[in-house]
């Protein structure tokens, strides 16, 4: 039985660990600390935790001021508010001056579940990757979340980290080497490539298993860093396999699928099919029900792969 952990849980635990090693780390939240899991840090380091109340614009502006004073602020709220409501503060006060703010947004994607469309960020990757100076990360599981959080403390500049609410399988071993900007070939294969990001890497692995039963070998690549994207690994996949299926828990517009298409179109035109949310809002429901209804499944990945191979 695979262990299942929500990436927001790992975020909360890792923050405490990071806070012990670096006094400059401060954490800000907007009255969601129990949901974003920053409350663990607030208990451990009450002086370095700032609850800004239900005010996401000021959450980001205050984080910018702390960063301008050599602090390393982690600013957390739900992804829909971080990327939407606070967008222009992130643009002008954080990205333009390239300040060292880590925007760690939880409850991203449709697996927010029962809260429904108003709280399901399905466009945050598109929004955040359009900003100069912004690094955009979307870890697949607990292990990669922890590894990437450690990396971003060392990196100086704005980072957007996309985290989820729902428990998801741990797919990596603890000693896996994960680096910002480097895609991960999780499994090899030469017939087709499945490029996935975030919690969809797990569905991609399921799809690979099924395809293998029919004698089709699928390469599975985890693009945890949407920006700067690893062009090399994508071009190589374009060259070596018959086509590419991108998979994301995000709108098919502007996210991973678009980023991969941009790289391929300019370097090695390759047939590409996108699995994602098809330009529509979500709705209330259980995470797995929603994944199924909106086509974020291994079955759908297999169908797209076959469209390419046939």
């Amino acid at each position: 039985m695979t262990t299942k952990i929500a990436t927001r849980e790992t975020y909360g635990e890792t923050l405490v660990e990071l806070g012990k090693n670096d006094e400059n780390i401060v954490v800000l939240d907007a009255d969601l600390s129990k949901s974003t899991k920053t409350h663990s840090f607030s208990k451990e380091f009450p002086n370095r935790f700032f609850n800004m109340g239900i005010a996401e614009q000021n959450l980001m502006g205050t984080a910018a001021g702390l960063a301008a004073s050599d602090k390393i602020p982690f600013a957390s709220t739900f992804a829909v508010f971080a990327s939407g409501r606070a967008f222009e503060i992130i643009r002008n006060s954080i990205c333009y001056p390239k300040l060292n703010v880590k925007v760690c947004a939880t409850h991203a994607g449709i697996t927010v579940g029962e809260d429904g469309a108003s709280h399901q960020a399905i466009e945050d990757i598109a929004i955040m990757r359009s900003l100069p100076n912004m690094v955009v990360l979307n870890p697949a599981d607990a292990v990669s979340t922890k590894a990437l959080l450690k990396e971003i403390v060392e990196y100086e500049g704005p980072v957007y980290v996309r985290l989820g609410r729902a428990k998801v399988p741990v797919i990596y071993d603890d000693d896996v080497k994960i680096t910002i900007g480097k895609g991960m070939e999780v499994k090899g294969g030469n017939d087709i490539t499945i490029i996935a990001t975030g919690i969809m890497v797990n569905e991609a692995l399921k799809a690979r298993k099924e395809l293998l039963k029919e004698g089709i070998t699928a390469r599975v690549i985890d693009i945890h860093t949407i920006k700067p994207i690893d062009k090399e690994i994508i071009i190589k996949a374009g060259r070596e396999t018959k086509g590419i299926v991108t998979v994301e828990e995000h709108s098919i517009l502007g996210g991973l699928g678009s980023a991969v298409a941009e790289v391929l179109a300019e370097n090695h035109p390759t047939l590409l099919k996108r699995v994602g949310i098809n330009d529509t809002f979500g709705e209330s429901g259980k995470p797995d029900e929603l994944m199924k209804k909106y086509g974020l499944t291994a079955e759908n990945i297999i169908a797209k792969a076959k469209e390419i191979l046939d």
Partner: protein
Amino acid sequence: MNNRYPELNKVATQIRKDIIEMISAAGSGHPGGSLSAADILTVLYFEKMNIDPENLELRDRDKFVLSKGHAAPALYAALARRGYFSPDELVKLRQIGSMLQGHPDMKGIPGVEMSTGSLGQGFSSSIGMALASKLDKKNSRIYVLLGDGEINEGLVWEAAMAAAHYKLDNLTAILDFNGLQIDGKNEDVMNIKPIDEKWKSFGWNVIEIDGHNFEEIINGFNEAEGTKEKPTMVIAKTIKGKGVSFMENEASWHGVAPKDEEKERALEELGGAR
């Protein structure tokens, strides 16, 4: 009577001349709100703040944030005249390749502590700076200048609430209350009164001064510094376009550059070319 006032007056006049020259050379910019803030900036940079143009990273330095970033010419002139960079740079304002961007850019301009321009955001950043100063037990005070139109922004009130909540007594905000914004008088565009009661009810210490009277500005800042457990808002009554008769109290001079003949007249009123 402080014997520094004639000197401060000279500096403020110089800054005003610079503002006119810069905006005229650029062919665009915001003279009205730059001129109204000139005396306040003069006091901050030439009298009040603990700063050192030779040591930009001075640990306990005071910090100024121009939240009304469109008054950039006034800030740039103050910085240049205080020695942060050569006054020769000033006439390159807004030109391609120039260090002096249309709105303050902390990455490129020595002495600029925060990039601003989108209203409300500099004020919000100043909350973070004041929190950091307290965390590090620094003596550094944070000064932040807001426009009166700027306080229409919802973000300003989010930040105001937070500053009082965190008892940021190391924060002095100044409201450049000239009564006019782009589309006209404050009360016609969006009524902001009663200003003093709004800030008081948000938990701020409020001081009202004449923003063109050096003694009142200095006393206001000193009182703010002595106030504990609360941030202070200094409401500075000012005149938009102050110092140039045909610009004074004219909303139309918010964001328009003077033509050559207007520039000459303005400089003449300020005592001749710089």
